[in-house]
Symmetry: C2
Subunit: 470 residues, 2 copies
Amino acid sequence: MNKLVQAITRRDEDFGKWYTDVCIKAELMDYSDVKGFIIYRPYGYAMWENIRNYLDKEFKRTGHENVYMPMVIPESLFQKEKDHVEGFAPEVAYLTTFSKDEEEKMIIRPTSEVLFCEHYRKIITSFRDLPKKYNQWCSVVRWEKTTRPFLRGKEFLWQEGHTIHASEKEAREETLEMLHIYENMGRKLLAIPFVTGIKTEKEKFAGAVETYSIEALMHDGKALQSGTSHYFGQNFSVPFDIKFRDSDNLDKFVYQTSWGVTTRLIGAVIMVHGDDEGLSLPPYLAPTQVVIIPIRSQDERVKKAVNEIYSKLNDKGIRVHLDDTNKSPGWKFSEYEMKGVPIRLEVGPRDLEKGVCTISIRYNREKRQIPLTELDNLDGLLHEIHEAMYNRALDHVKASTHVLTDYSKFAETIEKGGYIKMSVSLDAEEIIKEEHQASSRVILDEPLLNEICPVTKKKATHTILFARAY
Amino acid sequence: MNKLVQAITRRDEDFGKWYTDVCIKAELMDYSDVKGFIIYRPYGYAMWENIRNYLDKEFKRTGHENVYMPMVIPESLFQKEKDHVEGFAPEVAYLTTFSKDEEEKMIIRPTSEVLFCEHYRKIITSFRDLPKKYNQWCSVVRWEKTTRPFLRGKEFLWQEGHTIHASEKEAREETLEMLHIYENMGRKLLAIPFVTGIKTEKEKFAGAVETYSIEALMHDGKALQSGTSHYFGQNFSVPFDIKFRDSDNLDKFVYQTSWGVTTRLIGAVIMVHGDDEGLSLPPYLAPTQVVIIPIRSQDERVKKAVNEIYSKLNDKGIRVHLDDTNKSPGWKFSEYEMKGVPIRLEVGPRDLEKGVCTISIRYNREKRQIPLTELDNLDGLLHEIHEAMYNRALDHVKASTHVLTDYSKFAETIEKGGYIKMSVSLDAEEIIKEEHQASSRVILDEPLLNEICPVTKKKATHTILFARAY
C-alpha cells in the first residue's frame, strides 16, 4: 500500500471521513475560498457531464426542450405561492448592486418555478399551445447551514424540468414518466437500484400536490433522496394565472409538473459503490472505463503493444486512457484504484511473449490473464461489470430492508442500518422521527402488513419505508 | 404577406428595431421581469447548444478539461490583480444573505480568472503538473447600464478557458490555437468570416498582456467583437503566487492564457445573415435544417409521402421537422421563414403525381422542383447553402473594407459603414474615436500603407482596422 491508499480513512472506522477523503483524493472536488461552495474538478465534473448527456438525450427523446431563465427573481414574484416561499425563505440569498436601477429586492434562484410560471402565462393562449415541456440545466443557490461535498452545498448544479398540460391526467402521466426516466438512469447508468414512491405530506416539496422520490441506500445503511418528480396540480397556475382557452371554448388553468436531479447523484455513486481503496465507478458513468498501464514502459515491444491496444479500444468507442508517464506501476495502480477506473490493463514484456495481458477489475479486485485477442470483447466485460455492480447494490438493499410489525424492535433494527418497512397511521411518522431520528422515505404502493399501526395503535393506512437519511 | 412578416421593421428603416423584432418574433428570447436579464427560449437556446457542442468537442480534441467553479468570489480575492479589478469594478454585483456566517463581501462572478488562479496555485507543484488546460461553461453577471438581447446583458452564458503553462512560448501558442478554433468555428459553423488580430492597449482585456479578437461585420456595417483570446504572461501568476518547481530545480511563475465566447455569437448570426423576412440560419448551426410542409395535409398519399421523407432525412442525421398541424401552408411558410430554417420542402398531391417536391432555400429565396429521388442529396445541398452564405458574408466584408491614406476622407467613408484600414501612429486611435465614434478593432499583421500617419502626422507604426461597433 502506498501513501495514496494509506491516506484514506476506512469505511467502518468513520464513514463520513472516508467519504470526504475519497472526494478529495480521487480529485473529484476541492474546497473553495467561500465556505459551502465547492470546485468541481475535471474528474468530478466529467461524471456530471455523463449524467447530463444521458438525461438530456432522454428528455429530448420524450419531447422536452431546453431553455435558460435568469438567475435572479424579483422578491415579489417569488412570494406569489405561499407554501413555496415558506419552504425556501430561510435559505434565500440576494443580489445587490451599487446601482440605482434596482426597483426591488432580487433573489438568486434557489429553484425557478416562479420564472417558468410567469413565462408560461405570457406565451400560452390556446389548448393548441399545450403541452409545454421545458427543462433547464443550471446552478442554484441555497444558503444551507451545514454543507457536505455533492450532498448539500450553498451552490449546486442540477436540471429542473417544468411542464404545463391541459389535463390532470396528462400532467400526472408526465410526473410518473420522469420518475421512471430517473429510476431507469439508476438501472442503466449509475448501477443504483432506486426505491421509488410518494413522499408523505411532511416530506413533500413546498408547493406540490404530490412529490415522488427516488431513494438510494448508501453502504453505511443510510438513505439518500436522489431526485424528485412533483405533480403540482393547479397550485401554481391559479396564483400565477396561467390560463388557456380550451377546445370547448372555456378558459381553464393548466396542470403542472416539475422534476429535478442534482450533483448529489455523484455523492450517491461514491457511497453506494466505493470501498476502502477509494472510488469504484460503474462503467457507463466512468469518465475513464479502461486504463492501460505498461510494465517496463521503455521496452519498445511494450510501447508498440500498448499504443495498438489503446487505438483498438478507442476506435471501439471505449473511454480508454494510456498512462505512459514515468511513475512506477505500483503508484499508478493505487491512483487508478482510488479513482475507481473499472478495468485496469497491464501489459509487460513477459505477457507479450505469451500473447496475453493482465486485467484487474476494480469493483471486486479480481485479477486474471487474458489472451490479447480477447480484448475485442472488452465492451462485453464492461457490461458484465455494470450488471454485477447493480446486483451487488440490489442485494444490499434487499438484505437491509427490514419488515417490522412490532415497534419495540425498531430501536435495535434501525441500528443495523437500512430501511424499515412498516404499515402505520400517518402520525406515526413524527413519533418515529423524534424517537429514532429516522424519517419516512417513501410511501410504497404495497398492501398493508397489519390493520393496526404498531406505533400509534390507530388504524394503519400506509406502508412506508423509514430510514435514517443524509 | 401575413401578420408575422408585416410585424417586423425593415432593416433599412431601423436596423436596431429590426434586430429586436427578429429576436422576439423568431422566438429566440423574451424579456424577463428583471431589466437586462433575458429568457433564452427553446429556439434561441438550441442555437447556443449547437455552438457549445461544436466548441466543446474542439476543446476536448485539443486536450482541455471542463470544470465548474463557484459563482461567488470573495471581494478580497478579486482585488489581487489591479488592472483586472479596475476593469470590472463598475459592473460588479454582490451576493448577500441574512445569515451571520458571511465573513466578507462576496462578488457574483463577472469572470473567473481569480478563482482559477487560486485553484491552480493549490494544485501545482512541479513542471510535471503542467500544462493545465481547463474550461468552464457557465453564466456571468455584469451590471451593464444599457442592454440589448444577446449583445449585452446583465447575465449572459459563455465559456471561459483558463490555462497555465511552463513557458511563454507554450502559452503564446495556446492563445493562438484557441483564436484559430474560434476563427474556424466562423468558417465551419456560423458561416461568418471573422477578421482576427491583436487589440490595441486601450481595447485589451483588463489584466492581459495581449488580447486577440475575432471581429465580425454586421449587415448595417458595424463591427461586433465576437470572442477574445488573451495572453496573460505572468500578470496573474505573480500576484497569485502560482509557482512550480521546474526541471532545472528552480521555482518559476507559470505563464497563463484565457479565452471566451458568449451568447453574443447568436446576435452576430442574426445581424450577419438575417433579412427583411426575419432570421436566416446557416445550416450547421440551425436547430431545424429542413422543414417539411404538406400541402393538403389530409390527403392520404401526401400524409404517407411526408412521413416517408421525414424518416429518410431523419435517418440520414439531418435535423428535420414535419409540420403537419392544421395551420395554413401560407402561415407556415412565413413562420419558418421568420425562424430562418435553411430548407423548406413542400409536398402536395400534384407534386406527388409528377414524382417531385418543391424546395425553397431560405437565404436566397430560390424555389425549385426536384425529383423525390434527389432528396438523397440533401446534405450536399445543405453544404452548398453553408458555403454560399459564408461567401456572401465574405463578399460583404471585402466590399466594406476601405483602405484610406487620406484622413480627410474618413468622415464620408465611415458613413458608408464597414471597416477603414489605415496605417497610423497609436495615438490616432483616440482622435478617431472622438471625431468619428469609430474604434480600433484589431491591429493587422500587414505591411504599413504609408510612412507618416495621416491623422497625427507622426511616424505610422501599425496598420489598424477601424469601425463603428456594437
